[in-house]
């Protein structure tokens, strides 16, 4: 290959969101809105798993919540014909992620598993990614967080505690994915089995509204869920090619 065509090839790939022609795994979440009750078990599960700090009332009042998954609520109608609809919102792991292109230092990028990864120690804190993310699921460390002792004993050793000036967001519980891969390797398997990776939110969800897995595996739960006729993606018109599929709520 000539240097020029190699250059052009790189350029094409470079322009391509996420660079990859093919992912190793393609981790995907499906959320059945007909099952989600808005109970927020997932929120606390994520907070516990991922060392998400409690910021306190004052900071909450300033709009500085940190929870990586939030339950949005939308009222429809007026009393007495009124409905409240919940929708869990976390990083959608967009395959064409606006947050990735804007990060000047490549601290957020697409990895070989189709994840939008966040590299805390590379982040310089421009917060541009948070502006560019249309789902507003990126949360910033405005200062070093503090855990009243001994609450710090709970911190998950498999997950970094983020310092001030760093952006963070849902990772699809990357540490659990890693663990499952390690296990598969130890077992002499080439691939992780369906259901072996359960992010904390999925694990806890009392109504089993959340399903997670590898969409490259056509027998996986998530593959089936994402191909359910009720599937849609939030803000699909923005072409973010997100990896979180929602199943429409049934209005009966």
């Amino acid at each position: 290959m000539s240097l020029f065509s190699r250059f052009m090839d790189s350029w094409r790939k470079y322009r391509k969101p996420g660079y990859y022609d093919e992912f190793d795994y393609h981790w995907t979440m499906a959320i059945d809105l007909d099952k989600c009750t808005g109970c927020e078990a997932c929120v606390t599960a994520c907070q516990a798993e991922n060392n998400i700090p409690v910021v306190g009332e004052k900071e909450m009042a300033r709009g500085r919540e940190m929870q990586w998954i939030r339950i949005e609520r939308y009222w429809e109608g007026e009393f007495p014909d009124i409905k409240l609809r919940f929708i869990p919102m976390m990083c959608q792991h967009c395959d064409a992620a606006p947050c990735e292109t804007v990060c000047p230092v490549g601290a957020t990028y697409h990895n070989q598993d189709g994840l939008n990864a966040q590299i805390y120690n590379r982040c310089i804190g421009t917060r541009a990614c948070a502006v560019y993310c249309p789902y507003e699921v990126r949360y910033f460390n405005y200062y070093d967080h503090h855990w009243d002792s001994p609450l710090d004993k709970q911190l998950n050793p498999d997950v970094t505690v983020r310092g001030k000036g760093v952006m963070e967001k849902c990772t699809f519980c990357i540490q659990r994915i890693r663990q499952a891969k390690d296990l598969a390797k130890d077992d002499g398997r080439r691939r992780v089995r369906d259901g072996e990776v359960q992010p904390a939110c999925v694990q806890s969800c009392p109504s089993k509204a959340l399903v997670f897995g590898d969409r490259k595996d056509p027998d996986s739960q998530v593959f089936k869920s994402m191909h359910d006729p009720r599937n849609y993606r939030v803000l699909e018109e923005l072409n973010t090619d997100s990896s979180v599929f929602y199943l429409k709520k049934v209005d009966a």
Binding site: G106, I124, A128, V131, P134, K164
Partner: protein, 451 residues
Amino acid sequence: MATETNNLGYTDIHDDVVRSIVKTGPKYYIALATAGGTTLLCFFFPWFYQLYYGIGAAGINHPGVWGTYLASFIFWIGLSHSGTLLSCVLHLTNSTWRKAMYRSAEAMTLFSLVVAATYVMVHVGRPWFIHWAVPYPNQMELWPNFRSPLMFDVMAIGTYITGSTIFIYMGTIPDFAAVRDRTTGWRNTMYTLLSLGWRGTDKEWHRLHWAYTFLAVLIIPLAVSVHSIVSWDFAMSVVPGLHQTIFAPYFVVGAIYSGTAGIVTVMFVLRKSMGFEQYITKLHFDNLGKLLLVLSLIWTYINGVELFTAWYSGTSEEYEALGYKLFGFYAPLYWEMILFCAVAPMLMFSTRFRTSFVPMLILSIAINIGMYTERFLIIATSLSRQYLPDAWGVYVPSLVEISIMVGSFALFTTLFLVFVKIFPSVSMYEVKETMATPTMEPLAPATGIPA
């Protein structure tokens, strides 16, 4: 073109300018101490506090992750335009009236850029790693992300600072030499170094003019591209209110607009404080006033276009962003901006207004307040009302942010005060060019500087 400097002689110019460098009255020291003290108190202390505590010292939040720091950054970049840019354009079009003011204008560019660059440090969460945004070969093989508009920004501003520095420095070489010849002691040593052995030969003058013109041509597109690129920090996103194709020209015009207003302010101050009444005259104010008026009209037009396209899109997102801008939480600021930047400048249709110093000063300040507001609103109103209504929120600047904003003006003033003591703040040789002197030759005054 008639100028009011005709009754001056070369010696007068030298005396005036060198005096402004060498003779330092108590007023200067008071001014310097005030500006420097304010910088320390209002800029550096809060910033150090923020470095220690974290950027939570600012009012930024979710979703308002950007705030006055970025607004100030754009404001200063904007102000930096028209300094060098204006100087270049006027140089190329041979406008003689530029000559008395262009050096201070260029200095303004430089210091605005310095303040803007400082703001980048203030803005990011971890400024101690800011060098990661610069491409340099390193053992970790880590490179910045060249796809990022922020990265374009780093490049563009880097180039612009470099270009502007060379431009102002090169244009000052003959004047450094002039001062060198009239000073003694450490100043003489300093100016000897700065003037790079300038002797004032024909060849030197020729090369200077050639290089100067070359740079002037180079800097014009650069200045345009810089603010276009700054606008892409926003426009490349998908956020309603930021995602606007018109942003590049809008920002460029806005930048020149606020920059020109800034020059008016600075000229007024120089004129009064340094006793430059003879060099900076009504004519300058008149001309700049006309320029400002035109810019104001263009700026207003683009604002209208922006509103129209948002309305025309008819999507809930754009619509909401529009309504919020006009009637939401920040609406008073919006209407203040319209008053200052679109309505008030209409006064400049009157020649009498344009040639009145104090009213022009007030207007120029008002325009820049309006333009600061514009930058703030672009960020604040857009981030507050994005796609998912559940995530809506408002951002209000904190005391630290406001203090740093005030402090940045002090920083700018301090830099400027230092500048006037080192640089001849009026281009002596070019002012001389405008004077009716029998010995004057085109392009190169044969005798250089009288001993």
